[in-house]
Structures are given as C-alpha cells and as structure tokens.
Amino acid sequence: MKSIRITSVAVGVALALSLAACGSDPTKADTGNTPSSSDGNVSIVVGSASFGESEILAEIYAGALKAKGIDASTHLDIGQREAYIGALQDGTINLFPEYSGNLLTYFDPKATATSPDAVVAALKTALPDELEVLTPSAAEDKDSYNVTSELASKYGLKTIADLKNVPDLSLAGNPELQTRVYGVPGLKSVYGLGDIKFTAISDSGGPATLKALTSGQVDVADIYSTTPSITQSHLVTLEDPKNLVAAQQVIPLLRKDADSPTLEQVLNAVSAKLTTQSLLDLNAEFNGPDKPKASDVAAEWLQQNGFA
C-alpha cells in the first residue's frame, strides 16, 4: 500500500512539474529562476532548435557534461532563434549549440565577416553582456557548392574557382541564391565566373535539387554541407578558399553565469572532436532507416569519442 501511495505522489509531482513546464513560455522574460545545485556549480540546461542536428548536438553537450559530473539536462525543440535566444537571456536554458555566422547576423544584421576567425571575433563583440561563446569546432553546417564526382574528375574541380573550366555552367539552389552575396553575384565577383544559368529549386538542397544534379541537368548545386545525400551520392563539395560563404562553425553559446572551468574544459574537448564529417555521419544515422532518437545517436558518438 505504502509504495502505491508514494508512486501516486510521485506521479502527481511529475504531472504538476510537466504542467508547469507547459505553462512557461521560453520567449517570455522569467528572471531569477536560473537553476542552481547545492555545490555552487550551476546546473546546466542545454537547449536546441527544432531540427535533428541541433538536438543531437545539445544531447552531445549534455552527455559530455554529465560524464564529468556536471548536472546537465536538455530542453529540446525550442524553435526559431528569436525563441531560444530569449530562453537563454531569461535563464530558462543556459547553454546552446549555435552556428557562428547565423548567430552573428542575428545580433548584427549588417555583419560582413565571412572567414571563421573573423566571424568569431565579430561575434564576441556583438553578443549581449550576459552571453558568451567558447572555442568553435571545425564542424560547419552551411551552404556549399557541390558537383558529382564524375564532373569533378572530368574538369579537375577542387575549388569553386575551378568551375571556370566547365562550359555553359548551370547552377541549382534555393531562389534567394540568385540575389544573395554568397550566390550568383559572389560567384561572379569573388571567383570571376562568367555566365551562370541559374535554376531555382525551392527544396533547400533536398531531393529535387539532388536529382537535377545527379541526372546532369545542372552542373553545380547548393546543398547544406551536413546533408547526408552529399555522402550517399558521392558528391564533391568544392572548397571555398576565399570564404564566399560565411563560416557557420558549431560553437557553444552560454550564459556567463553558467560558465565554470570544468564546463569549458569539457565543451572545448567536444568541439575539438567535432568535424563537418562527424555532423554528416550523425545526420545520416539520425535519418537512417531505423530512425533512432537524437539522444541515442549522441550517446553513441560520445562513446566512440571517449566522453562516456
């Protein structure tokens, strides 16, 4: 009987907590509720945006911190940047796996930095006082120009500049690529490419863009650099030595009052291991036929990289 009563109390408490959680709006200021544990260290709540890669990265941060004895949990699927930056600022969450370039343009829409170092330097001055970023990882999720391996070997394509060897160059990508600096205008002005026949395909480098590329209807396609189809279709991602596309390094964004030497040490170690290839592999596994949970994909990565 007693155990039943305890269970029902526990269920009641859990229900009340979850209801309270439902009631809290992550975009609303809700000051002074930064969770603290008894040993003086702040307990960490890692947030994520609502897409797989962000969720996996949040689980990786949380898992690595837990393995070093830091009290860490996750608050996934917060949605768009406006919502989760608000949640960071009011302390609902205190750590977030961010992308350097997009985070910079969020706080400074006029930013022009594109190289990885310049983006991080600009980011450090653009961030509000209560937030900071740690050392970035080499992993980047950004627009990238891809060709088939056949075309790459036929014309000796390694960097974007080599596209000048391709006659009647045709490009597919989202419609904004036609006007954005990193798109057609930049290909001409930064890399000196001539006429480009542009086809707008509005699936953000999804299956239709991939089909247009692999069937030879276009020569180059803009596909996000961590899309599993890049590996699966053996595409060659052209190098961008002139940093036409702004860097989007995965970088830990956190509240300064959540920082501690141990936390920095753990997150820096994680960032040191993360590469664009790891993101590709993680995304490929997450989207694989057995549809694993983000936490399981993260746990496996942590295990393989010695964080568990």
Binding site: R180, T199, A200, I201, S202, D203, G206, P207, A212, Q217
Partner: protein
C-alpha cells in the same frame, strides 16, 4: 499591414514589373500556357472516359473511388515524386497538375450524363437514333452545363495551383510568390498572389458566361 498592401500596390504599379522576361505579362502568359496545356491533357483523358462511364453506367463506383483517391494526393508531393523519376523540367508540374484536374473533369462528364432524363434518352432511341447519336445529339448537349461546370472547376484549381511550377525553377506567376518569400520581399509575394486571384476570377467569369449560354434552349 497597410504597409505591405501599399507596397504591393506600388509593386504592381511600377512599370519595371510590366515588361521583360520577369514582367507580369510574360509570367501571366506562362501561367495561362501551363493551365491550358494541363486542362487540355486532362480533358483528353477524363472527358471521353467520363462520357463513356455516364453513357454506359459501367465502372461508376470505380471512377468515384479512383477520383477520390486522386483528390487526396498532395500536389507538391507528387511534383517531387515525378522530379525524382524524370528530373526537372515541364513534365513534373504538368503531370502533377493533370492529376489535380482529372477528378473534376471526370465527375463533370459522368454526372452531366447521369443528370439527363432517362425518358428523353429512351425517346431518342425510340425515334431510331443509334448509341453515338444518342450520345452526341441528346446526352452531351443536355449535359453541357454540368460538363462545363467540371471544366470550370478544373481550370480554377489548376490556375491556383500552377504556381508550383516555380518550385522547380519554371516560370509562371508562382515565381513572384516563391522568389518573394525566399528573399522576404513580401510586397512582391502579395502582388503575385493578387495577380493569380484576378486571373482566377477572370477565367471563372468567362466560364460562368459560357455555362449560362449553354443552358439557354436552342
């Protein structure tokens, strides 16, 4: 909000948007061409089939189930599916739009024939008409308002949905919608949507007139 409407009105009023390959007349012509091609192909398939079903009364249950299933297909999903099969080009959007246009055309044709009074048909047979004559001289003329209603329905749906051609890089009025959203140029998106609505209302008006004339006794 009034800001966006005002800017959309300015966009429509700007002479720069009324000529050239990206101008409204050219986009409108492309849009009408996609619509016309789609309805012609769908009509060539659905109307003879619908007339046969309506005249013979055969396979009616199957036709209802089949067109119901076609209506449930998401057009954008079908477009992507055809792209994966055939690559980009005119085939995927026209295929997806034909599938969209078949159900109302088919339903108009067989429902139109069914609406014809059985006694009239029996009378036609009684005066010695063969089956083709019954169909051509009695059933089709009497069913014309309903058949045209199906065509009107199909044209409206196709005009409104032909914007998806722009999803895979073709022209038409969808370009304004899709390009506008991509660069957050919402006045352009709204202006494009207004042009689609005006075109749809204009075509609907024409069909309303046709239907009225086909109703009047000859």
């Amino acid at each position: 909000m009034s800001g966006v409407f005002g800017e959309a009105a300015d966009w429509l009023g700007s002479s720069a948007h009324w000529h050239g390959d990206g101008g409204i007349p050219h986009r409108l012509a492309q849009h009408v061409a996609y619509t016309g091609l789609t309805v012609a192909i769908a009509g060539a398939i659905a109307i003879p089939l619908g007339l046969w079903i309506g005249h013979t009364g055969r396979l009616r249950g199957l036709a209802i189930a089949f067109t119901g299933a076609l209506r449930a297909l998401p057009t954008l999903g079908l477009l992507t599916l055809v792209v994966l099969w055939r690559g980009i080009g005119l085939t995927p959007p026209i295929t997806a739009l034909v599938v969209l246009a078949i159900p109302p055309l088919l339903a108009g044709a067989y429902a139109g024939l069914e609406s014809v009074d059985r006694q009239t048909i029996d009378a036609a047979r009684g005066v010695g008409m063969n089956e083709w004559q019954v169909l051509g001289r009695v059933e089709i003329p009497l069913a014309m308002p309903v058949i045209l209603g199906g065509v009107r329905n199909a044209v409206l749906q196709v005009v409104a949905t032909a914007t998806i051609a722009a999803y895979i890089g073709l022209g038409g009025l969808g370009r304004y919608l899709i390009d506008g959203v991509a660069v957050r140029d919402y006045p352009q998106t709204l202006a494009g949507a207004v042009v689609v609505v005006v075109l749809a209302l204009f075509l609907d008006g024409i069909f309303a007139l046709f239907q009225r004339f086909s109703l009047s006794p000859r």
